[in-house]
């Protein structure tokens, strides 16, 4: 799995390419951890290049959503493709993680709560 990080405003976009599976969890978790440590409150996972998602990855995404929620952060999914979109839908994960079709929509879908 190839992961590229882009920072746009208060959001971080992780462009994921390849298979998001148990075998790739270390790389994925590492990228997530770096984003969290950078103080990211809105993490956008660009799923356009993800060909496959296994049950372990679903758990990682749910865990990520829970952990960011604690710090009032949000995780969004961007443009998952056919099979991956179906898996997310079957697991009802879109109830926890908002899914957007465009980067603009994803970036606009979250605004930081007023400071203080």
């Amino acid at each position: 799995m190839r992961i590229t990080e882009r920072r746009i405003g208060h959001s971080i976009i992780l462009d994921l390419v390849g298979e998001l599976t148990y075998a790739n969890r270390t790389a994925f978790k590492g990228a997530i951890e770096r984003s969290k440590q950078a103080g990211c409150r809105h993490l956008i996972l660009n799923m356009e290049g993800v060909r496959f998602l296994d049950s372990s990855a679903l758990g990682m995404l749910a865990l990520l959503s829970q952990s960011l929620k604690v710090t009032q952060g949000v995780v969004s999914l961007l443009n998952p493709q056919s099979y991956v979109r179906e898996i997310i839908s079957l697991a009802n994960l879109h109830r926890m993680l908002p899914v957007y079709n465009t980067e603009q929509d994803a970036l606009a879908g979250y605004s930081l709560p007023a400071a203080g």
Partner: protein, 421 residues
């Protein structure tokens, strides 16, 4: 006070001095030549063992395992090349370093000696310096060979220990797998008028998919199938933990009801995501035997399938989160009616998420087609046929995920289950 560098030199010298002197076996029938060479080698600091003929040399080789053997070519009985051959033919001795000593150094003689097992040659007319140089070179080679042998022996020992440990672990895994399998229901008649058969094939020795069909209270049959994410020991242990929660006596205490939605709501609270993001999917059913009303609820599980002879087939699944994804999620109970001769299948996603050689998944539609097409077969044969078709799609026998397929068939009017209190 001595300088540290001087200490290091002294320590190195002491270590060197503590090493035993290399052992050289000298085999020559000529007493004068042998005694003279032995004295020369002893002066150089080596421990020398002498033998007066080939047989004695071979015996001394076995007894002393010398670092170097210097053999005269011409000897009565076993000559030098014959001793070489005997050494190379002996598994214990074959790596010995052998130098043949000759009065001549004809090329054809050297070729013969090498082909019969000698490592090097030494002329009887060699100077003191040449003898020292050849002995030292031979001892270096011999030391390297012994080092390789020691390493090989260490590796052999490690391999034997690893194999023993592996065997022990496999025995433990097998024992654990037998325990897990013993938790599954016995095929047969879980209730009067209801037949049950199943197939179960974990992807590893231990599976994270488990199921149960058992009585839950009076007149009611409890059914569930669960899938712990991941595979192997950890998934199996977590699956057993959920299975314990789903025991009839525990449900009565922990949930206070056998309602599938209530059971899953409680399980959702009790089984959060692990720190590694591991979780369960679960389908729970409650069959009221007198009325054949089937109440069910699911948490992210692919669910169950009803094949009826009188109406359209029906998948009993719902879009729902797996357990632990959202502690505030609620899971609703749905209801369907089973009829005489209906077949209800509980199944893990591993049975239909089977990839072909090209990566195409078998899918629920093909699974449904196979189950429906096999309706004329007995329940046991139908399940067997479905497993065979899935394996054919896969092109192999080992599924990538745990596979469970449980079938129940309504045979006749059920007699309500009454249990003595």
């Amino acid at each position: 006070m001595a300088h540290p560098a001087q200490h290091r030199v002294e320590r190195a010298a002491a270590v060197e001095a503590a090493k035993p002197a290399p052992v050289i076996l000298l085999v020559d029938d000529d007493d004068i030549t042998r005694t003279s060479m032995a004295a020369r080698l002893k002066r150089l600091g080596y421990r020398v063992i002498e033998a007066g003929d080939g047989d004695a040399g071979l015996a001394a080789t076995r007894t002393h395992r010398p670092n170097l053997i210097i053999l005269d070519w011409m000897m009565p009985g076993l000559d030098g090349p014959s001793v070489c051959e005997a050494i190379r033919a002996d598994a214990e001795l074959k790596s010995s370093h052998v130098v043949l000593m000759t009065a001549h150094d004809r090329p054809d003689q050297i070729a013969e000696g090498l082909s019969r097992g000698a490592d090097d040659f030494l002329s009887k007319a060699a100077s003191k310096q040449e003898v020292l140089a050849r002995v030292q070179a031979s001892l270096r080679s011999s030391a390297l060979v012994r080092e390789i042998e020691r390493t090989r022996d260490d590796l052999d020992l490690s391999n034997r220990l690893l194999s023993a440990k592996q065997e022990e672990l496999e025995c433990e895994l097998q024992s654990a797998a037998e325990f897990v399998q013993s938790q599954l229901p016995q095929p047969g008649m879980p209730a009067p008028g209801l037949a049950m058969q199943w197939a179960y094939q974990p992807s590893l020795a231990l599976g994270g998919d488990l199921f149960q069909v058992s009585q839950w209270g009076t007149d009611t049959l409890g059914l569930y199938i669960l899938d712990a994410s991941g595979h192997g020991v950890a998934a199996a242990l977590r699956a057993i933990a959920l299975m314990s929660f789903l025991r009839e006596d525990n449900l009565a205490k922990a949930v206070g009801s056998y309602d599938p939605g209530a059971i899953i709501n409680e399980a959702n609270r009790r089984f959060p995501l692990t720190q590694e993001g591991e979780y369960f999917t679960l389908w729970v059913g409650r069959l009221h035997l007198p009325s054949r009303a089937l109440f069910y609820a699911a948490a992210g599980h692919g669910g169950a399938f009803v094949h009826s002879t009188t109406r359209a087939s029906q998948w009993l699944s719902s879009t729902s989160l797996p357990l632990g994804f959202d502690s505030e999620a609620t899971f609703e109970t749905a209801c369907t009616q089973l009829s005489l001769h209906d077949r209800l299948y509980l199944l893990s996603d591993g049975i239909y998420e089977v990839p072909s050689a090209s990566g195409e998944l078998w899918g629920r539609t093909r699974l449904q087609d196979t189950l429906e097409a096999s309706r004329h077969l007995s329940l046991e044969q139908c399940i067997g046929e479905t497993m065979t078709t899935a394996r054919q799609w896969l092109g192999g026998d080992i599924f990538p995920d745990d596979v469970a397929l449980v079938g129940l068939e309504v045979l006749e009017d059920s007699v309500p289950v009454r249990r003595e209190s």
